[in-house]
Every structure is written in structure tokens, then in C-alpha cells.
Symmetry: D3
Subunit: 132 residues, 6 copies
Amino acid sequence: MYSLNVRDHFMIAHSFTGEAFGPAQRLHGATYVVDATFRRAELDDDGLVVDIAAAADTLRGILDAMNYRNLDEEPAFEGENTTTEFLARAIFERLAAALRGGELGEAARGVHSVRVTLHESHVAWGSYEGSP
Amino acid sequence: MYSLNVRDHFMIAHSFTGEAFGPAQRLHGATYVVDATFRRAELDDDGLVVDIAAAADTLRGILDAMNYRNLDEEPAFEGENTTTEFLARAIFERLAAALRGGELGEAARGVHSVRVTLHESHVAWGSYEGSP
Amino acid sequence: MYSLNVRDHFMIAHSFTGEAFGPAQRLHGATYVVDATFRRAELDDDGLVVDIAAAADTLRGILDAMNYRNLDEEPAFEGENTTTEFLARAIFERLAAALRGGELGEAARGVHSVRVTLHESHVAWGSYEGSP
Amino acid sequence: MYSLNVRDHFMIAHSFTGEAFGPAQRLHGATYVVDATFRRAELDDDGLVVDIAAAADTLRGILDAMNYRNLDEEPAFEGENTTTEFLARAIFERLAAALRGGELGEAARGVHSVRVTLHESHVAWGSYEGSP
Amino acid sequence: MYSLNVRDHFMIAHSFTGEAFGPAQRLHGATYVVDATFRRAELDDDGLVVDIAAAADTLRGILDAMNYRNLDEEPAFEGENTTTEFLARAIFERLAAALRGGELGEAARGVHSVRVTLHESHVAWGSYEGSP
Amino acid sequence: MYSLNVRDHFMIAHSFTGEAFGPAQRLHGATYVVDATFRRAELDDDGLVVDIAAAADTLRGILDAMNYRNLDEEPAFEGENTTTEFLARAIFERLAAALRGGELGEAARGVHSVRVTLHESHVAWGSYEGSP
């Protein structure tokens, strides 16, 4: 099993609903350092899991759509607590759609799983992993 | 599959028994930087894998019981080589018991696997992963 | 010259004023991983730069006063762009006051410089250094 | 499931063939920081996944055979694009052979999977995982 | 004293001349993760050391001129051992020229020192620091 | 001003004397990840701050003399609290003596300052810097 990972980041504001969140119910924010990991059983004809530049560009585009925003006002996340693990899945779904749509090239269709990890600090991270 | 990780550390003295350990048979010590990773298939009603503050507190409590101690004199580890991988399992067992006992809340019972990783330096780590 | 560093973090929302900031003029946020570095020429009678637990507690208290907040609404920062380097100085000033006020103990008065570094992502950080 | 990881690095020159590689078709190079992760279900009689010193020595020997070289001129890689993921597998195969040959000791035969990860920068890594 | 740092990387091939270099006399290569740190006594009118986006763009341009190349064939480095510390200075000189030339904006002329650090692995780095 | 840094680690047991140390008065231990940073104004004839292999070997030798030991029983540290900052100076003194004694080569006599940093965890480090 082969893996390839690219890293980038985005910076957002948000707040959480529910007593479980304590002071995080207030409007605050986070830097998320994002790892996108692509997995497949065999390499493509160029000896790659995915084209690393294409993977980085696709991830950058997905993050740009959320970067420097208040997620409480994003229609896509209405009524949701945009926790680290929730956002990991949201980014996964967008990466999976890009893979299915051929945005990372035809060869990238051989990718059978993707994991998205969001590091919210030096002591905490969350992730989501699934099939595209 | 969702994951959430919290990180903390503890500092101990110990020695190892067996020629395989060479100079590590002498009394020495280590800082272990600990990652506790919780996994589950679906998020709870708050959009969480586990309450991150509860997870951090539970981990802190488990590490406090070993912190600033000589593990050679801990009854719980009598007759054992407290290697990095052995300690990863010991901490896993205590976290698993906390999850089963409801210490991380009722919703945390949805966690189906836990991995505990101990970083003993910038070049070595060990881990144990299992079901709580 | 001796140094001692403690690390912690806080999570805030804010926005910037001025065309130079581009999309960061929108309400967004950041995780800041904070390093507080204390320097002195000679160690105190216990062989310390500062008591590491006292330093960590004092830093934690300063960060708690900003944590999980929208800095745009903090009276202390009214009319200011709370950039990384600006916040580094703000935290420095509060640490310096704590040192002068004896909050880190009498021995800590021997500290002659403090540097506060805020890591805003894996690729950028800012700092401020001065005498307390 | 237990894991143990050792880290080391090597520095090489190489070039890639194929338009997909853009400027990386030119002769360039990389530092690869390598993680070798060994996994097994039960610890050996010493409480170990593998002897950490033996694992580090074996990995060092494998990396020395490639270190400070131009991989374009290595007979073992003739006609191949020595991408990060390709090299991860090449190192995996050599570690697997060492395990099967008893180089890490008889007890290390209990290792049932190995993952080799090559970090090529602070934002990208590739890996290969399989059974020895 | 304020500082602001941006990080990026480049990947090159090179070889060294002189017995002191041992096996590094062979053609090999490196990934250099580069930190460019700008320092000044007072912030500019926007509350900045330098515009972080302008700093990152300028650094990227300087690294692009060396990226994916064999430094042994670069006229600028003819007759030189392109050691980590030598390259740190070469990048410093280019950043200093960009600052003096106004490429980072007029306000950036307030920067009075720059440090360039090249991380060549997880265990070694070199740097050069001077006035622009 | 040029710098070159090499990193290594050692693992020890110790205890502290004095109420200020709280639970750290008990026998415990630490992994110290050590950075040795050498500084000079001009490079030597090979384009180096110091020979990196010689620097790494000298540091390794100094750490080996303390590695896998109980510092409470080391004659060199009798009556001392072997705090992180104290140990940073102790290692500095040994590196400085090695430089003065020519162990890093004649060219290394151009080094005019050395900083030794000991990382005791992911959240704390101490250092000592001086002239050799």
C-alpha cells in the first residue's frame, strides 16, 4: 500500500453551539494545518500515487474557499458545529469529488482512500478517512 | 472513519533487564510525549469524536499517576521491562477502562479503537492500538 | 547567557483594517502556539532561570484572558490591527508586568530579557523581545 | 497491535522522466527523512517489537548504500523514476529482506508488517507499507 | 525588537570539493527548508514587520531561481562549495537586495536585520544573519 | 554571522533538591534532545562553520558520557541540581573545551560562540550560550 501526503493550511473564525463546548461557544478562530493523504495499491505509469503538484493545487483551491472566513456565516455549514473532525470530513468530501471528477488526472482514479487531518494546535488534531 | 488526537507528556526513571538492552540496563530515564488517538465511524450529537477537554483531562490523570516516578519501584510494573511499547499498552489499558467506565461521557462509548503513541526522542516512538 | 522556554497556545477571531491585508480584512481567526523565552546571565539559587511551573502558569493565565475570543471586540486592542507581531508584544508586556510584580517569584527578578514568539501556522511566526 | 518507529535520513541527486514532472525533469536532489515502522500483534520475550538499536543499524546500512549518490546512475534503479513513493517501497523491500534473513534477530520474525515513510520536505511525504 | 518569519523550501543537486567532505564529494542533493526572519525595532503603520505575503512571494522567487537544479552548473556558484551555510548567505544577499530595491514595499525599509536558515535534515541546519 | 547546528539526544535519571521542585524531587528522568549551535563571522577555507561530521561526533561523545545514567550518582554533578539549564551549560563547557583543544579541527578555532539547547519535552527547553 502506497501513500502520498501534501500539507497546507487555512485560518477561520467560528463558534460552537452546545454546553459541552464551554468557552468555545464564544466566537473564536483557528489555524488548521491540513494533511491530505492519498492511498493506492499500485503506482501509476509515472511511478506516482498522485501528481504532487496537482494534489497540492486541488487542496489549495478547496482551502481557499474557506480561508479567511467566519464559518458561522457559510451557507454550506448552516446548523452545524464546525468542529475539527467535522471540517476534516467536509474537506475529504471535496477532495473525493475532485478525484471522482478527474481534477487530479485520470491516473489519480486509482486512489482508493483519502485521509484528511486537521492540526488545530501543537497538541490536538482530528481526521476523517474514507473512499473517494 | 473519524479520529481525534490529544498530546501530553510525562517524565520517568527506569532500567531494563536482559543483555539485549546493553547500557539501558543501567538506571536512566525518559520524557515520553504521548499521543492518544480516538477513532469512531460516526460523530456524536455534538459533532465530536470525544470531548477534547475530557480526553485531555483523562489522559493527564493517567500520566500524573506515573509522572516523576521511578517505574522500577511501581508495583503495577513489577517484573516487567517498561519499554516504550509496553508503556503504550499500559496507558491504552487505562484509557480503555476510563472509556468503558464512562469517564469521557456517555457519547464517548461510540469510540471503537484507541491508539496510544509514546515519542521517546526525535528519532523513535512506539505505540499500541486496540479496542476499548 | 541562559534561556528557558515554555510553550502553550490560544485560539482567537479577528479581522484587519487596511488594503495591505487583502482577504484578511474579513473576519477570520488563528491558533497561536506561543513560546515564552526567559533569559538571564546567572542561574538562581535553585539552578533555574525561572520556576518552569510558575512560568507556565503565568503564561496560561495571560493566554486565558484572550482565549476563545473575538479580538475585534476586546477594549484593550481597540483601533489596533492585532497582527502576530503586535500580539507578541502585547503578551510580552503582560509577562514583563508579571515578572516586575513578582508573580514568578523573587528569584525571577534576575531575568533581564523575554522573547515571546507566536507561531500562526507551520510556515509563519512573529516575535517580540525586550527587557521586562 | 504494537508499533515501533526509528528515524534517519539520506541525501541524493536524481531526475525524473516524463512531462508530468515539469521542472523536476532536471537533475536536482532531495533530503529524505525516513521513518521505518515495525508492527506486530504481541511483544517478544524482552517486551519489544524489535531491538531498537538493531532496527536503527539495519536502516542506517540500507540508507548508506544510497546516501550521497546520484540515483540516476544506480544500476538498481535503471529505467525507473525514483519518486518518493517508489523509494519508500525500495527501502521497504530491503528492510523486509533483512527481517526475513534474521538480521534484526530471531525475535523480529514476529513482525508482520512494515511501513517506510520518506519525508521530502516540511509539506510532503510518501510511504509504502506491506508484509515482510 | 520584532521578528517575522516565513518558511518555504527548494530541492537541489550538488557536490563538494575537498577531502574534508568525504562521501559528500560525490554528486548528491538536498531538500532545504528555508526560514527567512526579518527584524526591526518598531512596526510599520499597518502594525507589521513586513507584509507576510510580499515576504513569502519574494522568498519564493529567490528559491525558484535555484529549485530543481544542479548547483555545480550554476554560474553564480562557480568555484564555490555550496554548503548549507554558504547557501544561507547567498539567499540572504538576494533577500537583502530585494529589500533595498523596495520589492517588499517602502515600509519594509525599516527592517534592519535578516536571518536566513536552511534546514538540511531533521538533525542539521545552517544560517546567515546580517543587515540588508 | 554564520551558524551551524547539529542535533542528538540522551536519556538520564535524576532528582532535584528543594521545595521549589515539588514532585520533581522524586527520582524521575528525561530525554534531552540536544541542539549544538556554532557561530562565527566568516567561513573557513572549505566554506564551513565547522565540519558537520566532526561536530556531530564530538557532541555524540559528550552525550555518551552521560547517556543511560543516573545523574544523582555522577561525581561531576555532586551537590548540583541537574536542571535543563544547568545541563545545557555543562555540555557547553565540554564542547568549548573540545573546540579549544582542537578536537573539531584547527579551522574550528574560528568559532566565537556556541549555544547548547536541551529540549526536555514538546513544550519546554533550556539553553546556555557563551564563548568557547
